[in-house]
């Protein structure tokens, strides 16, 4: 399914300001995840710069890559891939380089995100939001310790058959690797065979694979355990489900979504203005308040919803395991992981 939502909320604003001005400044074409940016923020951007925002949305990193590969390069100015996808897209030559001094607000990037492994020196990207992927457990159904990946892969009887997994090879296999304590891009045959066997065994405990409704199944009670992103999980809790986010001792997945400048961007200057806009603490804080994740920008604190600082989904306990980014495997290794995923879903 491809959500093609032409975002024209900004157009209404542009009309109010006088369509002439907007016309003169042109537009910026954004390829973004769905439900990830508040409409008011787009209106604010148009108000400040006179640039109209046109937005298409995608629903997975892989879908973004597929669409750009199929010929959408040259259509969009900026996109919002996750960490490992930034690395892949850079490797595919799909990203333009941001020269020194082109972004006035580049200094606002937090030090720990200024030189990430997936984009050394931030040559192509700026931080958008970061968070974690773990799972939530319905506390009405299960009261025991949830901070272990056994909940997903070797669950207690009360939870067996009530587990929803994300329908995403990367997230499922990364979590499974953490569970087994093996590297993500293992080339060790015994480890890979064991991983394959473990997933086959675990599958009998799972009710479904679903990413789009990861939150809904927890809120409705259809699933008692659900793999989920932290901010999405916070929303599930706020919607009234008695669910708790787990920080497994074996570790969990962390991710960062980034705004990248695409190669052959038709409105390159406007794209840079858009990126600068998102590096303003007040603006990116508005995204964080909406999406319930964290930004990678300094000075956002005063603009943030105070509840976020105590939000359990964003504050791992001291005994939690380490967060790990999803790794990019080489072609030969990836082939085996693709096969394991097909075996799991055949």
């Amino acid at each position: 399914m491809k959500h093609l939502t032409q975002f024209t909320a900004a157009a209404a604003m542009a009309l109010a300001l006088g369509a002439q001005a907007a016309q003169a400044e042109g537009k910026v074409v954004v390829y973004h995840w769905f439900e990830y940016m508040p409409a008011e923020l787009l209106e604010k951007f148009t108000e400040e710069t006179g640039i109209e925002v046109v937005m298409d949305t995608f629903d997975s990193n892989e879908a973004l890559l597929a669409s750009l590969k199929a010929g959408a390069i040259g259509t969009y100015d900026v996109a919002v891939p996750g960490d490992y996808m930034v690395k892949i897209m850079a490797g595919e030559g799909m990203l333009d380089t941001i020269a020194d001094g082109e972004l006035a607000n580049k200094g606002n990037i937090q030090e720990e995100w200024a030189d990430p492994s997936f984009d050394p020196g931030r040559q192509h990207s700026i931080p958008y939001q970061w968070g974690s992927t773990s799972f939530m457990v319905n506390r009405d159904v299960y009261q025991g310790d949830i901070n272990t990946t056994d909940i997903l892969f070797n669950p207690p009887a009360e939870l067996s058959g009530k587990i929803n997994m994300l329908d995403s090879q990367g997230e499922v296999i990364a979590m499974a690797s953490l569970h087994m304590g093996i590297p993500q891009c293992s080339t060790d045959r015994e480890q890979l065979k064991a991983l394959n066997a473990m997933l086959q065994e675990a599958k009998q405990h799972w009710a479904s694979f679903n990413s789009d409704t990861a939150k809904e199944v927890l809120v409705s009670g259809d699933a008692a355990v659900g793999q989920i992103y932290d901010g999405f999980g916070a929303k599930a809790r706020q919607e009234g489900a008695n669910v708790e986010y787990a920080f497994p001792k074996e570790g969990y997945v962390v991710w960062m979504d980034n705004v990248v400048l695409l190669k052959d961007a038709p409105n390159r200057d406007n794209a840079l203005k858009f990126m600068d806009f998102l590096l303003e603490p007040e603006n990116i804080a508005a995204v964080t308040n909406y999406a319930r994740y964290s930004s990678g920008v300094v000075g956002t604190k005063e603009f943030l919803d105070p509840e976020l600082s105590t939000q359990p989904e964003s504050n791992p306990p001291a005994e939690a395991g380490k967060g790990a980014f999803i790794e990019v495997c080489d072609e030969e290794t990836q082939k085996v992981y693709d096969q394991i995923w097909t075996n799991l879903k055949k």
Binding site: M1, Q169, E331, Q339, N343
Partner: protein, 309 residues
Amino acid sequence: MAGGAASGGSARTDTYREARHWLLLPSWVVLIFLILIPVLMMLVYSFLTKEFRGGVIWEFSLDAYDQFFFNRGLFGDEPPSIEWTYITIFWRSIWQAGAATILSLVIGFPTAYFIATRPEKVRPMWVFLITIPYWVNLLIRTVSMKFVLRDQGPLNDFLLWTGLIDSPLHIVNTNFAVQLGLFYSYLPFMVLPIYASVERYNFALSEAASDLYAGKWVTLRRILLPAVKPGVIAGCILVFVPSLGSFLAPDLLGGAKNFMIGSLIEEQFKGNAGNWPFGAAASMILLSMVLIILIVFARQQARAEKGGA
């Protein structure tokens, strides 16, 4: 198709005789640009070399078909044996689509018969009623269906209330839920062609049969059914074919635990695998299967018509 034989006897006076060569032009444009060229591209792509993370390299390769039919183990270095994975996925899809078609037929046929036997004035109203739910987007309908069928949904609440069951029926995330979803998605495609056939049926034939001491069952089987068979076949094809490739119902109602043809192909283009030639090959195999089914149907029908005349 069937209508051509009936009306072809006398040449009709054609008001737009001069323009008749141009009448099909829009259809040809649609057919060539939106069906023929994409299908040919798929055919070509299925014989190319896969590029890592999506895309193709322009070198001839049979790898995609090899992957479909031969299993070389987890690491790709064992001696080849028959690959059952994709055959299983195809078989599962065929089975699900078949079950949905039968369900549609069992419910659609009496419905169509009922509508066709109402007074002429109220028939359009009944047809209209059948189509109303289909004004709503397929995704919304499928999600709503999930809400109705869930363990805590209205259906289970009702059954528990009546005392027919003690604990909720688990319907969501089963194959049965997928069949229900497919059946509900495509029911009008079954009802409408059958309705059209039954409406044209000459009911005097049924009367004649019963005058000649044929029972109700025999009349149905030997008189009505053969007469409306084209409508039944059209309905079955119209339900079966889209069910075969659908992935909404399997994903939402079936829990996506097992690939169906549609989701397997989708994964090759949008998922991690990024194996375009394999996705194209799977599509070509699906297309060939559908074509074979259609040809078999068409031949049977032709034979039946010849036999009847």
